[in-house]
Amino acid sequence: QQQVKQSPQSLIVQKGGISIINCAYENTAFDYFPWYQQFPGKGPALLIAIRPDVSEKKEGRFTISFNKSAKQFSLHIMDSQPGDSATYFCAAGYLYNLFFGTGTRLTVIP
């Protein structure tokens, strides 16, 4: 059973464009929503995270939008760059549990 549903599975964006990845969850106990970035052959690394008391968090070109009532959150990458090409995972957590989405492979074309 997938606790966090992520889409799309893959995404191709032109350099300078906006990349948008969406996630949804059901468990209202989740209180921590991070996004991780993973390059091939490496472990994931935290990119940005949000807690449900805010609706948006921005760090540089990366923004999380959070809709608590809809139980959805998304990652927006502004001015996408070829170096952003990686797999992105959303996650939702509470206590000692952190559940990941299935990942989105982003390719930014120069």
């Binding site: 209180d31 472990g43 549990n97 559940f99 299935t102 990942g103």
Partner: protein, 113 residues
């Protein structure tokens, strides 16, 4: 600074053979430790987590087991590997509260043949 070491990086094992993957954390004490498996199209699946020495919680029933013999050491084991055990295994740690940044190791690519 804290670092996490995971080895080996790659491993090819025959079906029915045992498995031992090791993970150690440096630069912190009493971390929460985790084993995840990453399979194509299925994201990261939490296998085990530990909040202290000898304390192991399993999220998914399977052919694997975990142990934490020391505060900063986490071991993933199997007595007899199955083909379905193939995958990319990741160790991670967090500070006491899980709802903070999780730091992942470089992963072990396991192929069972």
């Amino acid at each position: 600074s804290q670092t996490i070491h995971q080895w080996p990086a790659t491993l090819v094992q025959p079906v029915g053979s045992p498995l031992s993957l090791e993970c150690t954390v440096e630069g912190t004490s009493n971390p929460n430790l985790y084993w995840y498996r990453q399979a194509a199209g299925r994201g990261l699946q939490l296998l085990f987590y530990s909040v202290g020495i000898g304390q192991i919680s399993s999220e998914v029933p399977q052919n694997l087991s975990a142990s934490r013999p020391q505060d900063r050491q986490f071991i993933l084991s199997s007595k007899k590997l199955l083909l379905s055990d193939s995958g990319f295994y990741l160790c991670a740690w967090t500070k006491t509260d899980m709802n903070t940044e999780a730091f992942f190791g470089q992963g072990t690519r396991l192929t069972v043949v």
